[in-house]
Structure formats: structure tokens, C-alpha cells
């Protein structure tokens, strides 16, 4: 190797502190971005797989009419390597020869369920078993209530339409049971091959066909793009996300991961920008010397750019090599919470944002100051000259803003998130400039005090440029960390509030008025708390403004026009509903009615329109006085239509609905309950809640892990920045000791100086974080803005302490090595 290339060869580079800092920053940057990306991708796949049980498949294709799903579609799915399953749902009467009962039939094929499990009992008193297939042809499973209502035992026969099937078990729980309070009819599960023999399905019957599809994501995507152009409005292609229960939780988790990733990118960029600027500054003497030896600007640029390329390659490689085991570690941590953990895989597409970050950061942030090195005046060999690069700084800053914007845009593709972060960064830069100028002004006028305080203030003023640039980096770092802490807290609080540990996980439907007291007694006896009773009156929506509803509704095919709806009476609306039009009921309201937003839209009705219902033999009318938004995934009782206590349906025959929490170990009580109250339907949603809570636990852990990673990266950045000016500070420390400065004075002054920087940076950073969170809150996490006092108040102190410790750390050689040795070493 020639000496020329050795002047700035890689091994030489490694002896330079600033290069080490820059490389470290790059490695942290690449590793953090790659880890978060690979892990987020893994988590997303895990969550989707874990949640796909809710559909009994990865995707469902639902018909909205009686038309079955074309066989050609199944054939194509199989052709693309997918597993398929067929399912038919319809309502009909069944009988045990003496009694008839309206039931909800689900007919499944041998493949059902493609995902998730069934819970089944051999007889009413048997143990619950977990199985992965439905009934065989000729057999039928009934839910416990139906078994009791019809007084059937396994082995008995059940007439379903024109055919007779053998009762072979009790279906306790199906994976895709969902959460539909409207399905009051008890469940019967049979084999799809027996459906034709029942002769129940006639033209005009209400039948729903569902296709189940499962397979790897590539095959699913291929099939999806093949299928999409052929889908008419009569079919609905559903993934877990569009399922009722999980969409929002997954969206928020994903939003958080993206936010974490973007913050990692920003942090990385800041670190690289600072380190490369320091590096460029430290190289000026060398460049000046090389110029006296006749090295031209062109060759200087070539030398340094080749360094950048080598550094970029090496640090990217090391970063990626660290990221893969780190992501694997995170994945295996969350795997402990899973029943069936997913294999961790990495592919290039998860890593490219990290590589892109490294490239862009290197060339947009490290390149400009290094490129400007070739303009270093050769006269610098004689004496250091003031560098006149304020215009360059402005240009760099503009470039930085554009590049950060572009990078975030590529990374998250969400304008609000990008603007929120960018806005906060700009606000931070502006307030830093103002605060910095103010600080310098104050320091210049009040260098008062004595001892270590005076020394600290003097040092701050003397290093004012370094102080300001360090403060900017610290403030930025604190802003990013605080943003993540704040978002995490509100996200977790949100989830906790949505589904507390003792959230009601069972619903009782069909409680007859005469049973209410007995149910009450049963609950008291077993010390179970239940929610208030909601009266349920079943009625059909028949008229809109005195016209037949099926003719004038905007969406004439709406299912809600073709079945009985649950009408309820209440003087207040559920906490998570919001009145978005009109007014909630006055105290003595008699005419009014509150309707759910999507139903109102589907019907094409507004406040002031009159709806007519048939309830049994009665016809009633009521005027819409309010429209509500409803959180259907809240797992709480929710209703399309609410009437006031003295309103139109008051006094009509009703049943009641309530909900309660039952722990897993108390499940046996349900059998007693069902035996005692055979006519009351029990809807078990504990498995749905459990699954959602499991997902929330996983995401929470992931969120915590990412937070820890970002905080570690933030501290690494701070260390990097502090160590960038370390030798200068050490030299000063050694000089102070040489002229008789006491160790204690030195330690106090240094810690005080750093604590002051940390405190100011903490205040600015946390305020900028509040701005970012304020902007993010609305868009991504649906919260309301409020000051986060604990964080706002504690952050400046925490950052002061961290920086004071860092200041003490960088002073260590000054205290342990003799000043003479140190001065010589630093020469």
C-alpha cells in the first residue's frame, strides 16, 4: 500500500477519534433501522398469523347475496398454491320430532378451519377438547343451549330440513365466532356435503357463502391481485385487518413501529451529521499540509470520497450483521408469549431501508463538510484561520431538511407523520437558535458566581460554538426519545383502557323479564359482577319517512333491512360512542331515536327523518334526533338503534342483555348457568379478548424493546458527540490541573457545565417532543392533546444527570493520568 493511501487509509482512520465516532454512529444507525425494520416485519407477520384464527383462515371471501362463490376462483387459488375451504351459513328450523327451534347453521367442509381451533365436548358434561376439524358428513354438533332446549344427547337424531343427522358432539367455541350480538339463534354445525339433502336452500332463502383461503403471503398476494378485478360488490374479500375486532389495534401497533423506525433514522442522521462535521474540522490541518506538498483539490476530494465509500460499506455491513441477531433476539422474546411462534426470517427487502439510510446519511450529511475540506486554505499550516462557512451551514441545513423529508417519506409514506416530525425538528432548530443566542448573551454579561460555577459558565461561553452544536444534538436526541416515550405511554394507556384485564368476556342474551330476578340471584350467589341490563326489543326496520324502507333506502341490499334488529332503551349512550349529529335525548324525550353512523349512511337518512318499525304485531315510528359513531371493536354492548326511556318502544315486550367477566378457572359455572337457564344465550368472547390481549402484550413488549433500542441509540449518540470534543476538553483539564486546579473543582465544574447543557437541551427537546406528539396524536393514535407533566418536568433533569455523568466520564483520564503525560499524549 502506498503511503498516500495510508495517509487516510482505513486502519489510519480507525486511530482517529472522530472517525471512530462517525463509524459508530453509522453502525448504530444501520443496526437500529435494520433491526426495527426486520423485527417490525416479523411482528406484523406474527400478528397477522396469530389473528388469522379470527377468520379461520388468512383471508375470507364472503358473498353478500345467495350466489355461491364461483368454483373457478377456488381452482385458481389451489393453482396458486393456497389451501381453500368452503363454508355456508343459513338460518332454519330444526327439530327433535317433538320440538322445533330456529337455529343458525354453519356448514363446513373437511378443510375447516384452515387457521385456529374449535372447542368441542363429547357430551354436555364432558371436558372441553381442542380440535382442528368440523363434523363428518352425516353428523351434527349443537351448542350447549340447543342441546338442552331440545333435550338431546349425543347419538340422538336431529332433523334438519329434509334430512336427519346424528348428533355427535357439543360445539362450545368456533374460531371465527366473532362478536355478533345479533346472532341470537343457537349454533348448529354440520358438514357442507349434507346441505343439499336438507333442501332448505331455496331461491330467496337467506344464505351466505364464505370461502376460506390460507397460504404464504406471496401466494395470497398473487391470488389477491388475480381476484380483485373480478370482485363485484356482491363479494367481500376480508383480511384480519378488516375483521371487526383487530384492525385498529394492529394499525396502531404498526404506526408505532413506523414511528420508532423513523425516529431511529432521524437519530442516525443527526449522529452522522455531527460526527462527520467534527471529522472534517479535525482534518483541516492535514489537508492544509497536503496542499503545501502540492496535492490538488481534485485529488483531496478523491481521497476523502473513497474513504466515505469504504466507511459506508464497512459500517453498513457491520450494522446489518448486528441487526440480524438483534431482531432475532427481539423476535424470540415475543415468541415466548405466543402459542405458535412464527419462524424468524430475514430477507433483503427488510434491510434496504437501513442501507438507504446509510447511503443517504453518508452522502447528504457526511459528504458536504468533507467535500469542503478541499477549500481549506493552505495557509492553515502556519496558523489556524477562522472558517467562514456560515453560508455553507445554511446550505447544509436546507439540504438536511429536504433529505430528511425524502428519507422519512420513503420510509413511512405518511405525510402527517413526516410533517409532524419535520415540524418539530424545525421548531426545535428555531428555538435552539433563539435560546442559543439568549444563552450566549446571558453568559457574556453574567460570568458571575465563584468556584466551580464560575468555571462552568466560563467554559460554556468559551466553547460557545461547540456548546450550541452539542446542545442542538442533545435537544434533538431528547426530542426523539421523549416523543417515543410519550407516544408509547399514551398508546399503552389507550389499549389498557380499551381492554382492561377484567373486561367483560361473556354476554348473556335473551334474558326473559321473569328470569331477571333468578339471574340476579345466581350472580350474587357466585359473587360475579355484571354490567347493567340493556332491554332488547327485536324489531324490523320497515319504513323511512312513511315509505317502504327496502325501496327508498340508499343501499337497498343492506342486511339490516332484511333481519330483525336489536332495539334498546337507554337514557345515556356508551362511553366510547360519540354523537356526531343532532342532540342526545332531552330528559322527557318521547319521539326520538339515536342511530349508528354507518347504518344512517347506508339507509341515506339524517337527523329529522322518521323511521318506522314492526315489533311483533305493533308498528311504531320515531324521528332521528341523533347520529352516533360506535366503536364496534370495543367488545362492549353496542347498538345500532337506541330509544329514550319514555320513547316509542317503551313498554313493548323485551328481553335483556348483560355482560360480565368470568375468569378461566370459573368457566365451570357456565355449565351450571346454562343448565339452570336453558333459554338464555351465552356468548363467550373470552377467547377473542384473550387473543387481543395476547397481541397487545406482544406489541407492548415490542414497543418497549424498540423504545429501549432507541434510548440506547440516543445515549450512544450523546456519547459520540461528547467524545468528539473530548481531546480538546482533556487538554484544558490537564492545563487546569497543571496550573493548580484541584480535582474536585475540575470535576464539579465539568459536571456542572454538562448538566447545564443537558438541562437546557432537555427543556427544548421535551417541548419539541410535545409538538411532535401533539401532531401525531390526532392522526395516528387518536388521542387528545394534553401536557405530559411528568415527562416534561423530569426530562430536563434526567438529561442533565446523563450529561453530567458523560462529562465526568470524559474527564477520567485527566484525573487519573499525570497532566504532563496527558498533554504529551494529546499533542
Amino acid at each position: 500500500m502506498s503511503v498516500t493511501s495510508k495517509v487516510i487509509s482505513f486502519s489510519q482512520d480507525l486511530r482517529e477519534r472522530n472517525v471512530k465516532v462517525m463509524l459508530l454512529a453509522m453502525i448504530i444507525a444501520v443496526a437500529t433501522v435494520a433491526t426495527i425494520n426486520a423485527f417490525a416485519d416479523h411482528l406484523q407477520r406474527t400478528l397477522m398469523t396469530s389473528a388469522s384464527g379470527f377468520l379461520a383462515a388468512d383471508r375470507q371471501l364472503n358473498s353478500r347475496t345467495n350466489a355461491p362463490i364461483p368454483e373457478a376462483w377456488y381452482a385458481e387459488a389451489i393453482n396458486q398454491g393456497l389451501e381453500v375451504g368452503r363454508m355456508v351459513e343459513f338460518g332454519t328450523m330444526v327439530s327433535n320430532e317433538t320440538q322445533f327451534q330456529l337455529v343458525a347453521i354453519k356448514a363446513v367442509d373437511n378443510a375447516y378451519p384452515l387457521r385456529g381451533e374449535l372447542e368441542w365436548q363429547a357430551n354436555l358434561d364432558g371436558d372441553r377438547e381442542t380440535i382442528t376439524s368440523g363434523p363428518k358428513p352425516g353428523e351434527v354438533w349443537l351448542n350447549p343451549r340447543l342441546m338442552r332446549l331440545l333435550e338431546l344427547q349425543p347419538g340422538d337424531s336431529l332433523e334438519v330440513g329434509a334430512t336427519t343427522l346424528k348428533v355427535s358432539g357439543v360445539i362450545v367455541r368456533e374460531p371465527d365466532g366473532g362478536f355478533r350480538l345479533s346472532d341470537l339463534a343457537p349454533r348448529v354445525m354440520m358438514h357442507i356435503d349434507d346441505v343439499a339433502a336438507t333442501e332448505v336452500i331455496q331461491p330467496g332463502s337467506r344464505v351466505r357463502h364464505r370461502g376460506l383461503f390460507a397460504g404464504n403471503s406471496a401466494a395470497l398476494a398473487d391470488f389477491e391481485s388475480w381476484l380483485e378485478p373480478q370482485l363485484t360488490e356482491n363479494y367481500r374479500w376480508i383480511n384480519v385487518r378488516q375483521g371487526e375486532t383487530l384492525g385498529e389495534s394492529l394499525d396502531k401497533a404498526e404506526g408505532f413501529l413506523l414511528l420508532g423506525g423513523s425516529l431511529a433514522v432521524l437519530l442516525a442522521v443527526v449522529a452522522i451529521a455531527v460526527a462527520s462535521r467534527q471529522y472534517a474540522l479535525s482534518q483541516r490541518d492535514r489537508v492544509a499540509l497536503l496542499k503545501t506538498m502540492g496535492l490538488t483539490g481534485k485529488r483531496i476530494r478523491k481521497l476523502y470520497i473513497s474513504r466515505l465509500v469504504v466507511w459506508g460499506l464497512i459500517s453498513t455491513l457491520i450494522g446489518l450483521m448486528l441487526a440480524i441477531p438483534a431482531a432475532w433476539l427481539l423476535a424470540s422474546m415475543t415468541a415466548q408469549l405466543m402459542d405458535q411462534p412464527l419462524q424468524f426470517e430475514v430477507d433483503f427487502w427488510q434491510l434496504w431501508p437501513a442501507i438507504l439510510t446509510a447511503l443517504v446519511a453518508l452522502f447528504a450529511f457526511a459528504y458536504p463538510p468533507i467535500d469542503r475540506l478541499r477549500n481549506t486554505p493552505a495557509m492553515r499550516v502556519f496558523r489556524s484561520l477562522p472558517s467562514n462557512d456560515s453560508s455553507a451551514l445554511a446550505k447544509d441545513l436546507l439540504l438536511a431538511v429536504v433529505v430528511i423529508f425524502g428519507l422519512l417519506w420513503v420510509y413511512v409514506n405518511d405525510i402527517v407523520l413526516v410533517m409532524a416530525l419535520l415540524g418539530a425538528v424545525i421548531a426545535l432548530v428555531v428555538s435552539l437558535a433563539i435560546a442559543g443566542a439568549g444563552l450566549i448573551w446571558i453568559l457574556r454579561r453574567f460570568p458571575a458566581g465563584k468556584g466551580s460555577w464560575r468555571l462552568a459558565v466560563i467554559a460554556l461561553y468559551r466553547h460557545r460554538n461547540a456548546t450550541l452544536s452539542q446542545m442542538s444534538v442533545f435537544a434533538m436526541t431528547i426530542m426523539l426519545a421523549a416523543t417515543l416515550i410519550l407516544v408509547r405511554s399514551s398508546l399503552l394507556a389507550d389499549w389498557q383502557a380499551q381492554l382492561p384485564e377484567d373486561a367483560p368476556n361473556h354476554f348473556l342474551l335473551n334474558i326473559a323479564p321473569e328470569s331477571v330476578d333468578e339471574v340476579e340471584a345466581f350472580f350474587n350467589q357466585h359473587q360475579i359482577n355484571r354490567s347493567p341490563l340493556y332491554p332488547i326489543i327485536r324489531g324490523r326496520l320497515t319504513e323511512i319517512n312513511s315509505q317502504p324502507a327496502v325501496e327508498v333506502a340508499l343501499n337497498k341490499d343492506d342486511d339490516e333491512l332484511r333481519r330483525e334488529l336489536n332495539l334498546t332503551i337507554s337514557d345515556s349512550y356508551p362511553d366510547d360512542n360519540q354523537v356526531i349529529a343532532g342532540q342526545w335525548f332531552e330528559a322527557d324525550e318521547t319521539k326520538g331515536l339515536s342511530i349508528e353512523q354507518s347504518l344512517a349512511e347506508s339507509l341515506g337518512v339524517e337527523v329529522g327523518d322518521e323511521l318506522g318499525f314492526t315489533v311483533g304485531a305493533e308498528k311504531i315510528t320515531a324521528t332521528i334526533t341523533s347520529i352516533r359513531s360506535v366503536q364496534w371493536d370495543s367488545m362492549r354492548p353496542n347498538f345500532f338503534l337506541i330509544f329514550p326511556p319514555k320513547g316509542a318502544i317503551d313498554g313493548l315486550p323485551s328481553t335483556s342483555l348483560t355482560s360480565f367477566y368470568l375468569a378461566e378457572q370459573d368457566k365451570q359455572l357456565l355449565n351450571d348457568f346454562v343448565r339452570q337457564f336453558p333459554t338464555i344465550s351465552v356468548l363467550e368472547i373470552d377467547h377473542i379478548i384473550e387473543r387481543i390481549q395476547q397481541i397487545i402484550r406482544q406489541v407492548t413488549q415490542a414497543v418497549e424493546a424498540i423504545l429501549v433500542m432507541i434510548l440506547l441509540a440516543a445515549i450512544a449518540v450523546m456519547v459520540a458527540v461528547v467524545s468528539a470534543t473530548m481531546s480538546e476538553r482533556q487538554r484544558e483539564g490537564a492545563l487546569l490541573r497543571t496550573i493548580g486546579g484541584q480535582q474536585r473543582l475540575l470535576v464539579r465544574a465539568t459536571m456542572l457545565e454538562f448538566a447545564l447543557i443537558g438541562f437546557l437541551a432537555g427543556i427544548l427537546g421535551v417541548l419539541a417532543a410535545e409538538i411532535a406528539v401533539w401532531a401525531l396524536q390526532y392522526r395516528m393514535f387518536d388521542g387528545e392533546f394534553r401536557w405530559h407533566w411528568p415527562v416534561v418536568l423530569s426530562m430536563p433533569f434526567i438529561s442533565a444527570v446523563i450529561l453530567a455523568i458523560l462529562g465526568r466520564w470524559q474527564l477520567t483520564p485527566v484525573l487519573t493520568v499525570s497532566p504532563m503525560l496527558l498533554l504529551r499524549r494529546l499533542e
Binding site: 503511503v3 492535514r286 496535492l295 486554505p377 493552505a378 502556519f382 496558523r383 504529551r824
Partner: protein, 243 residues
């Protein structure tokens, strides 16, 4: 790049300065550092520029070497009009014709002694860098310490490496900025001796900035700079040193 553009044919001087003035911009004010400097130094001559701290002597040295351009006036270096060359052209001119010795040695701390000497040879694209550097280090008495890094060498030894480096490309002109400024008297004398001997042997033009009168006295020409104004001092020892 046209470092080979035609030198001024009428010029036998290595350095010729006419009406050179230099000032620096201090924002609202400008500070005049050099005023109406005229000087010419012949090929192979040695010249000392003496003056107090802040008198402008180092600035003048930088301008003579083409490290910076004067505010007004002209500098010819080996017949080339410095102000007509771009920065890169000036750099190329330096790479083969100019050597430097600095007060603070300016060795690259990460390179060994021999690598520091090889560096300008390689930058100038000359062959046999290693053997040439070895010869020079031997010549300055550091044959045993070639692999040492600057930190492992004393001040005098570092300046010897710097001198070996300055002569590495057989420069036609050597600029020295307070070469003994950071050294004790005895070491300083030894370095002076070495510098003068090499200079004589190689027939190099030497321009040296110093405030060491003894060192200045060993040069053929003796300039004094005071508050930016240069005048030549007629030395009685001139004949002695020239002999």
C-alpha cells in the same frame, strides 16, 4: 493544468515580488498586513526574513510559496506568475519545486518517520520513494528510527524528519517557518547546521522566517519586516556566509 506554461523568460530570479500588499477583511474594517513589498531572490540564494511576532513575516512566506494570493501586486515563483494560476495549478507547482519546514514540524502523527518522508515523493509521482526516503533519513541521522511515529521522537528528531521530508522531492526552493522556534538552543543549532548543509549540497533556494538572529546571520540575504514594511539589511557577514 498548465504549470508548464511559459515562465517569464526575462527572469533569473527564483522569487520576484513587485508592489505586494496584503490585507485581511475584518468585517467592517480591513487590516493591512503587508505594504508595498518588493523583493527578489536569486536561484540558489538563501534569505532570512526577520521580524517580531505579528510583523507579517509568516504571511509573506505563505504568499511567496503561493499558499495564498496577495491583495495587490505580483509574485513570480520560478518564473510563474502566482496570481495567474488556479489553486490546483499552484498546488502542482509546489509538488515538485517547493519544500516546507514548519515551526511545529507538522508531521502526520499516524505515519512513521519514513512514511512521512515518502509522502511528498509519492504525491509528486516520483519513483523509488522508499529508498530515497531511507537515504534522506540516514542523512539527517535517523537511520535507526525510521519506523518510529512522531510521538515516539523528540522535538529535534521530529524536525529532522521534517527536514528530510522537505528535501524529499529535490525542491528548487525551500520555505522554512521558524524551523528552530520550538527547539532548545543546542538542538536548534544542530538543526540549523543540517538545514544549511543540505541547502548548500542540493543548491536549493532557501527562504526562512525567523526571529533567531544567529540563524538569520547564516543566510546570504537578510530582510527585516516591521509593521508590514520590508527592507533589506546589508549584512557584513554576507561575504563570510557566501564563501
Amino acid at each position: 493544468m498548465s504549470t508548464d506554461r511559459q515562465p517569464n523568460p526575462s527572469n533569473d530570479f527564483m522569487i520576484e515580488v513587485q508592489n505586494l500588499s496584503h490585507s485581511v477583511d475584518l468585517g467592517t474594517d480591513s487590516l493591512t498586513i503587508l505594504q508595498q513589498v518588493n523583493l527578489s531572490i536569486g536561484k540558489g540564494e538563501s534569505a532570512a526574513i526577520v521580524g517580531r511576532s505579528g510583523s507579517g513575516k509568516t504571511t509573506l512566506l505563505g504568499l511567496l510559496a503561493g499558499l495564498d494570493l496577495p491583495t495587490s501586486g505580483t509574485v513570480h515563483l520560478d518564473g510563474h506568475l502566482i496570481s495567474a494560476l488556479s489553486e490546483d495549478e499552484r498546488a502542482s507547482l509546489r509538488s515538485r519545486r517547493v519544500g516546507f519546514v514548519f515551526q511545529s514540524f507538522q508531521l502526520l502523527p499516524t505515519l512513521s518517520a519514513i512514511e512521512n518522508v515518502m509522502l511528498p515523493i509519492e504525491l509528486a509521482g516520483l519513483p523509488d520513494a522508499r529508498s530515497k526516503a531511507e537515504g534522506l533519513l540516514d542523512r539527517v541521522g535517523l537511520a535507526e528510527r525510521m519506523q518510529h511515529t512522531p510521538r515516539q521522537l523528540s522535538g529535534g528528531e521530529q524536525q529532522r524528519v521534517a527536514i528530510a521530508r522537505a528535501f524529499a522531492v529535490d525542491p528548487q526552493v525551500l520555505f522554512a517557518d521558524e524551523p528552530t522556534g520550538n527547539l532548545d538552543t543546542r538542538t536548534g543549532e544542530a538543526i540549523t547546521e543540517l538545514l544549511m548543509t543540505l541547502n548548500r549540497e542540493q543548491g536549493t533556494t532557501l527562504v526562512m522566517v525567523t526571529h533567531d538572529q544567529q540563524l538569520a546571520d547564516r543566510c546570504q540575504r537578510h530582510f527585516v519586516i516591521e509593521a508590514g514594511v520590508l527592507h533589506e539589511k546589508q549584512s557584513d557577514k554576507q561575504t563570510v556566509t557566501a564563501a
